[in-house]
């Protein structure tokens, strides 16, 4: 045990200075210090700032790639009439998709619902820009959307069966409802009803019915929890 004659207090610890006034302290007895309650700081516990270099590099590269492509695309269309399509929009949507994938889906702590919804929207936007520059204007709604919708609905259904924890159920139901509503609308407004649209509508409709028939209690509980006022 040590003593600080300036502060008039006993000091417990192995340091030779007072933690209050930083003056030297005298040893007064051999009473064993009991190491309380602090752990020693180690050299590797130095303050570290968040490394934002990778983020900044990614922002820089994204802006460079998109603006260079937009410029080249614009220049070639206007000056040389070489490319008559806005192909650079695909580059833009691809960059947006990569941002959503890394920043939102992989890194962020967002909910499963938000991640799946953001993925769906980002993929659809990317594919829409692809369709925008392609000569065939119906493949997105006739083939791509129903395929994505079917695979999403079936994947969520599989996860529901595998996982014991049903806390994601409401999110899955809401996503299935959204996809079903879009499927119904596309089915109503499409002139040529493609077979994939019919299959998609049937699968999402039956899945939804299954969710409410077998998981009603779990959905109700989850709804009360998420939407409590």
């Amino acid at each position: 045990m040590k003593y600080c004659s300036d502060c008039k207090v006993k000091i417990d610890g192995d340091r030779n200075h007072c933690p209050l006034c930083f003056r030297e302290v005298k040893e007064i007895d051999n009473e064993k210090t009991f190491d309380y309650p602090f752990a020693e700081r180690k050299k590797d516990e130095k303050y570290q700032k968040n490394n934002t270099f990778v983020f900044k590099l990614f922002v820089f590269m994204s802006i460079c790639v998109v603006s260079i492509c937009l410029f080249i695309n614009y220049y070639l269309i206007n000056e040389h009439q070489i490319f008559t399509k806005w192909w650079s929009l695909v580059v833009l949507s691809s960059v947006i998709y990569v941002w959503v994938l890394i920043g939102h889906t992989i890194i962020s702590r967002r909910s499963v619902f938000e991640k799946i919804l953001a993925q769906l929207l980002a993929i659809m936007f990317l594919l829409w820009t692809c369709e925008f520059i392609s000569p065939n204007k119906t493949w997105l709604i006739n083939y791509v959307f129903p395929s994505i919708s079917i695979s999403t609905v079936l994947s969520l259904l599989m996860i529901t069966f595998i996982r014991k924890d049903k806390s994601w159920l409401l999110s899955f139901v809401v996503i299935t409802i959204i996809l079903t509503v879009v499927s119904i609308l596309s089915f109503i407004y499409l002139e040529d009803k493609h077979v994939l649209n019919i299959i998609n509508l049937a699968i999402s409709g039956i899945t939804l019915l299954g969710y409410f028939t077998f998981g009603y209690q779990a959905i109700k509980q989850e709804f009360a929890r998420k939407f409590h006022l």
Binding site: M1, D12, F34, D165
Partner: protein, 425 residues
């Protein structure tokens, strides 16, 4: 009937999740020094058992559409070796989603709790429960003695209830003009963490000193804290339109006969502009008056109502959470950060079973500083001793130096411990 596996956040806890950052982690900790070295495996079992006894803590924080809520967490709350900087922000990754962390080091056990889960008294109950289970598993001769909750007792609803809503009465709150608070200024540490200094003294000595001024320990220490700020930080030059404002939490459980382990305390704000010279005796009288006025049942009921009224407002209810987050950050900045210089939190003498004294030697309580309150003073009493801790976010030790020096000058024998955070490794 199916067991309820989620709880809405209590009224006081709602402000914490949107405002929690690395700089403002809103955590507080209890550290116990045991008679022998801690066995981590036994401690792990004790934590698991305690979570079954007190399921309010067996939860993780989740975002709803309109409000945050606590959901039952079936993962393991892992006990870990204590790092030097332990008063850190608790993130979902910190401890499998739990809003607390349990650490061990040599013969000490530390629990770090987020304020969204509980307050100091609730945290003490949970910590003592862990220690009780640990002692039992170690084969020590301990009994609950009516102080610790027996493991066999069924979980009562009132332990998890939001008591603020239960005791809400329609009373009008007479709001006063508020002034910005004086903020501590100092050199930031070159490394992450806080400087912690703990002074241990005898209860009798401190009580006798407070009695000389006709004050309680809380009143005396609050006045001393304010006066030390006046003397060392303001040095006779108070800032225009700013006041020294110290928040003193009041435990409401006894007054409202509640057994909740969630937040159930409110703050009394002690304030003074120090524009005119003031003696320490006058400062004590000022603090006594403000504490008495601020903690009358009527005043507390008014405060409870003004807080609960906001939560019950239909317009507030239907605002989506992401917009509420923005609103609560702005509100906290305006009426939380801006009006607070520091905290003085006194848990009081904690009740432990007699049989604990052989195995539990010391206990300490620390509140982590936040961006707005860069220095907090905390007090806890156990086994005839009082542990006064100070946690600060800057190098200078002037507040605790003057505080402990004054206590020592007035005959209180103090032993000081520090984590020497200001020293280079």
């Amino acid at each position: 009937m199916q067991k309820k596996n989620w709880y809405p956040l209590d009224n006081a806890a709602k402000i914490y999740p949107p405002n929690t950052t690395e700089a403002s982690p809103f955590v507080f900790s209890f550290t116990a020094r045991l008679a022998s070295e801690v066995d981590p495996e036994v401690l792990q079992k004790a934590v698991n058992l305690s979570l079954e006894v007190m399921p309010t803590f067996k939860t993780r924080l989740k975002r709803g559409i309109f409000w945050y809520y606590l959901e039952r967490n079936n993962k393991v709350a892992t006990v870990k070796p204590q790092p030097a900087h332990y008063l850190k922000q608790i993130t979902p990754e910190s401890n499998n989603g739990y809003m607390f962390e349990v650490f061990y080091r040599k013969n000490t056990v530390t629990i770090n709790l987020h304020h969204s889960l509980t307050d100091g008294t609730g945290g003490t109950n949970f910590f003592l429960e862990i220690l009780f289970e640990y002692f039992k598993l170690m084969g020590y001769d301990v009994e609950s003695e009516g102080v610790i909750r027996p493991s066999a007792a069924p979980h009562a609803y009132e332990e998890s209830e939001d008591t603020f809503r239960v005791f809400d009465k329609k009373l009008k709150n007479n709001s006063e003009k508020e002034y910005s608070a004086y903020k501590f200024k100092g050199t930031p540490f070159s490394h992450d963490g806080y400087g912690i200094v703990c002074g241990v003294c005898k209860v009798d000595q401190l009580k006798a000193l407070a009695k000389q001024y006709g004050a309680t320990v809380t009143e005396y220490l609050a006045a001393l804290y304010m006066y030390v700020i006046y003397e060392t930080c303001l040095q006779g030059k108070p800032e225009k339109n700013k006041r020294v404002q110290i928040l003193v939490p009041i435990n409401l459980r006894k007054r409202f006969s509640s057994n909740t382990v969630r937040n159930f305390s409110l703050f009394v704000r002690l304030k003074h502009d120090f524009h005119n010279e003031i003696s320490f005796e006058e400062c004590i009288e000022l603090c006594k008056k403000q504490l008495a006025e601020g903690s009358t049942t009527e005043k507390i009921e008014q405060l409870i109502h003004s807080n609960v009224k906001l939560e019950k407002n239909p317009f507030m209810k239907i605002i989506p959470l992401f917009l509420k987050d923005i609103a609560m950050r702005l509100v906290y900045r305006r009426v939380g950060e801006n009006l607070q210089s520091g905290d003085l939190s006194n848990i009081g003498l904690i009740k432990t079973p007699e049989s604990f004294s052989k195995y539990l030697k010391d206990i300490a309580f620390v509140i982590g500083p936040t961006a707005s309150a860069q220095q907090n003073i905390t007090v806890i009493g156990y086994n005839g001793k009082i542990y006064i801790s100070s946690a600060r976010g800057y190098v200078e030790t002037r507040i605790e130096r003057e505080l402990f020096k004054r206590l020592a000058k007035n005959g209180v024998e103090l032993t000081i411990y520090s984590n020497y955070w200001e020293s280079e490794v």
